[in-house]
Amino acid sequence: MPGSRPHAEIDRRNADWYVDKLVQVTVFVSGVSAILFIIGIFVFVTIEGVGFIANTLDFGEFFGSPAWRPTSETKPTYGALALIVGTASVTGLAMLVAVPFSLGAAIFIGEFATGKVRETLKVLVELLAAIPSVVWGFIGLSIMNPLIIDVFNVPVGLSILNSGIILGLMAAPIMTTIAEDALKAVPDTYREAAEAMGATRWQVIFRVVLPAAKNGLVAAVLLGVGRGFGETMAVLMASGHSVNLPTSVFDSVRALTATIAAELGETAQGSDHYAALFTLGIFLFAITFLINLAADVVVRGIRKGK
């Protein structure tokens, strides 16, 4: 039997070898597609805005003026300051709401809760994260809006406050999940060592676990910020959508994302207005790219540190 193997069998193994190479190339191309898509997003969004940026756009006006009047017949202006402030204020309030609560929830789920309670809470948090943003927007519009008008006795309920809370509730489940993962990544031996030295539970948490999980928690917050920054439908529906430099949380604002969503449908392809919206897109892409990059660097920092 050995040494007298039929040649057909050897050939078949060669066929398998070629199939294997073919699969390897196919999955490699699919893997690289992630890079291609990111480049594609960058190229296709930039290409529509780049002519406008080079010829028409005044950077001083873009970053310095709150006058977003792209549809003006006489003199259109493209000041994005109000939009940037709008996005920043809504995201800021959202983080003010979401960061303490989601970190607290992560600590409770990760360090205090056990067994069934913990499993149930994790499932609930996961389900919360699944609620679509348009539903959140609708909630802001139809439930939060009258509630804010009643409670604070203000004329309009679609405001920074409304969209900030909505956005906070949206971002919290994701931040909770990531933060809890970061806490879970702290080895149990740390906790045991500290407890063996007589530290109490909360001392262990504050002196050992939180410092050890610091980078992961920062990454969680950064990703939450990125999420808030890029959120579109909820902010579009709950923020009031008026171009405005806000003076209080009850003011209506308009966000970068919402501006694109609201105006893209009404613009002619190739017009300055159309290109200006793509310019906002480039800006958003760049900011979120930087935030994600920062989160990645921070997370990488943990691995190197250990």
């Binding site: 039997m1 050995p2 040494g3 007298s4 069998e9 050897i10 193994r13 060669n14 398998d16 070898w17």
Partner: protein
């Protein structure tokens, strides 16, 4: 093919050195393994026996830190020159001390290799599965539950399943690394009997830390000590004390190890 024909070298190893990172696990081994012999390798743990086996079928490719220098020839051809490493591995059966039953049925475990070779006929597969499981002394225990999971068998059973799988490859060379570690003595003896029969068809390399097992089975035996290939001799000579190196005698007689 007659057993009386002059023995041909199936494996030739020249200047084989294996390192993990900067640590040498085995240095400068040169030896030949003849067709149709049982080639024993003995030596205490950490002597490089397993590393030696890994180098024979290019398993070093799965271990990034492992580097292999020197030449290993299989069937007259350097293993590095096989463009298709899979074809090489399909002709070499391996049984490791830690048994791995694949998470599929017992039947599929044994039928996997034939299927990879393109055998589809159920009757042919049935025949191979029964033969291999019988030879591995497992058939009687599992013949009524061939469709249960191979990965949920007991350790000893998984070990024999692994042997059956290696046999199902109809290999030219069978590498056994302490195959009896998880198997009870009675079953070990049954498998040993099978190995003696198999010698007619297959060349066997038997790595063992049971010196007596090598004595019972091996035609020639090599002694590895702490990464050094000490010597190679006819097994009988080794056990009757006709050895070149005193360390071999000490190990065989159980003075250390």
């Amino acid at each position: 093919m007659s057993v009386d024909a002059p023995a041909r070298d199936l494996v030739r190893v020249r200047g084989l050195t294996i390192r993990y990172g900067d640590t040498a696990a085995l240095s400068d081994v040169s030896l030949s393994i003849r067709e149709h012999e049982i080639f024993g390798i003995i030596g205490p743990a950490g002597s490089g026996k397993t590393s030696f086996l890994r180098a024979l079928n290019r398993m070093d490719e799965f271990t990034p830190a492992m580097t292999v220098d020197g030449a290993v020839e299989f069937d007259g051809k350097n293993v590095r020159d096989w463009r298709n490493a899979y074809a090489l591995r399909s002709r070499i059966g391996v049984v490791f001390p830690l048994p791995v039953g694949l998470p599929m049925t017992i039947y599929d475990n044994v039928a996997l290799s034939p299927r990879l070779r393109g055998i589809r006929r159920r009757s042919e597969l049935d025949e191979i599965v029964e033969r291999c499981l019988t030879r591995a002394a497992l058939w009687d225990e599992v013949k009524d539950r061939l469709d249960s999971l191979g990965s949920l068998l007991s350790g000893g059973q998984q070990q024999r399943l692994t042997i059956a799988r290696a046999l199902s490859q109809e290999p030219q060379l069978l590498l056994l690394d302490e195959f009896s570690i998880a198997v009870d003595p009675v079953t070990t003896m049954r498998i040993e009997d099978v190995l003696k029969e198999l010698k007619q068809e297959v060349t066997i390399v038997l790595v063992t830390n049971l010196v007596q097992q090598a004595r019972r089975l091996a035609d020639r035996t090599a002694f590895f000590l702490m990464g050094e290939f000490v010597e190679l001799a006819e097994t009988e000579q080794l056990f009757t004390g006709e050895v070149a190196d005193p360390r071999t005698r000490d190990y065989v007689e159980g003075r250390f190890g």
